[in-house]
Symmetry: C2
Subunit: 195 residues, 2 copies
DNA sequence: CGTAGTCTTGAGTATCCTCAACGAGGGTGG
DNA sequence: CCACCCTCGTTGAGGATACTCAAGACTACG
């Protein structure tokens, strides 16, 4: 196992790199995204402490992963050795399966979020998801380490629309701004269901 | 292992059922979807022959799966026995992992499709995906077993917009209609990239 | 203090959704 | 065998939502 520390914007692996490791975020945050011909960079997943990644592809990686904040710490496990170790240790094999299942759950829950809804609904659901996945945050306070651009690429919206949706949620009293990137959720129940 | 034959609309498992089996589609097609409070039924995945499903959840199923066409044949494997068998057979464990990885790949590829694009782009990408995943179909001919409603729920569009997008693609010469549900792809390259 | 990146807000336009009517196809029953 | 019904698919008109282009404010960092 190897521990790496990454600064903001630093790549962990790139699209079409050979897939030779499993990775796990220890601290900080990373984003997994695709690079398309038209320049867009849709974000497939935000990776938080405890999340594993890098194992979806058979041979070459389909996506790029890079750190979102400074001092993001990532652990990497050589794939070859992990596989052979799993062949001897059923418990590890079971663990790897469960990790994959968690990734599937996360991914499929996200699809529901991306389904036809209004922009405020998407952003509200995003805040709820982050509030659940991020560890700290006393009293429904969420600190978002990523930019509005990243949120937009994650939700399939333009960054202006993300900004407007946040303003909209604030005007309706569902959230308040502690700072631009720190948000307090007031009406949690309403966020998931609002118009 | 148990083999079941399902008619159109027949449920295979339902949201909140205990997750006790792995399943694999042998023939036909099934859809995995969520049932929301507002009545919408976003489709998370179309399940084709060779696709496994039902293992993403730890305890209870998060989604509902039902057959899309008559005579859909599904194989089911008891989870408990499969797990204990995998504990003794590393090759099976590896296979189960690979199956999970494939599901992840499929799921993440779909996110790119759902990312911000125009309706025609989404429908075009959907046709390409189905052309790749469905077995037969000589010469770029794709038979879509599902209704326009299903496609709409899969892409996060209204069914009218799906219909209009297909008309649009036809007018621009990228596809032709053999019948309402059988489509011939003429400009495959253009489908993924068109405006 | 200046600069670059980020965030908010505004105005105009394009896209998509809603409501609605109509046509085509398949299955059932007389 | 034909008429009927029901589901599915297409197309149109109008309105709501989100995107594009644009300007200005805030923040962090050098």
């Amino acid at each position: 196992m190897t521990i790496t520390s990454c600064h903001r914007g630093q790549g962990i692996y790139h699209q079409s790199d050979p897939a030779q490791h499993w990775y796990c975020v220890v601290a900080g945050m990373a984003k997994k995204y695709a690079v398309l011909e038209d320049g867009r960079q849709p974000i497939v997943d935000f990776l938080l402490p405890g999340d594993f990644f890098g194992f979806g592809a058979r041979n070459a990686h389909q996506f790029t992963v890079e750190a979102v904040v400074n001092d993001t710490i990532v652990a990497s496990y050589p794939r070859r050795e992990t596989d052979s170790f799993a062949a001897r240790e059923p418990q590890l094999a079971q663990l790897m399966r469960d990790i994959a299942f968690d990734t599937i759950s996360r991914s499929q829950a996200r699809m529901i979020m991306l389904g036809r809804t209004t922009a405020s609904q998407k952003v509200g659901a995003f805040l709820v998801e982050m509030a659940n996945r991020l560890p700290g945050g006393s009293e429904g306070e969420v600190h978002l380490p990523m930019s509005r651009y990243d949120i937009a690429d994650y939700l399939g919206l333009s960054f202006e629309t993300v900004s407007r949706a946040l303003t909209d949620l604030r005007c309706r009293g569902h959230i308040t701004f502690v700072s631009a990137r720190t948000i307090r959720i007031v009406g949690l129940a309403a966020l998931g269901l609002n118009t």
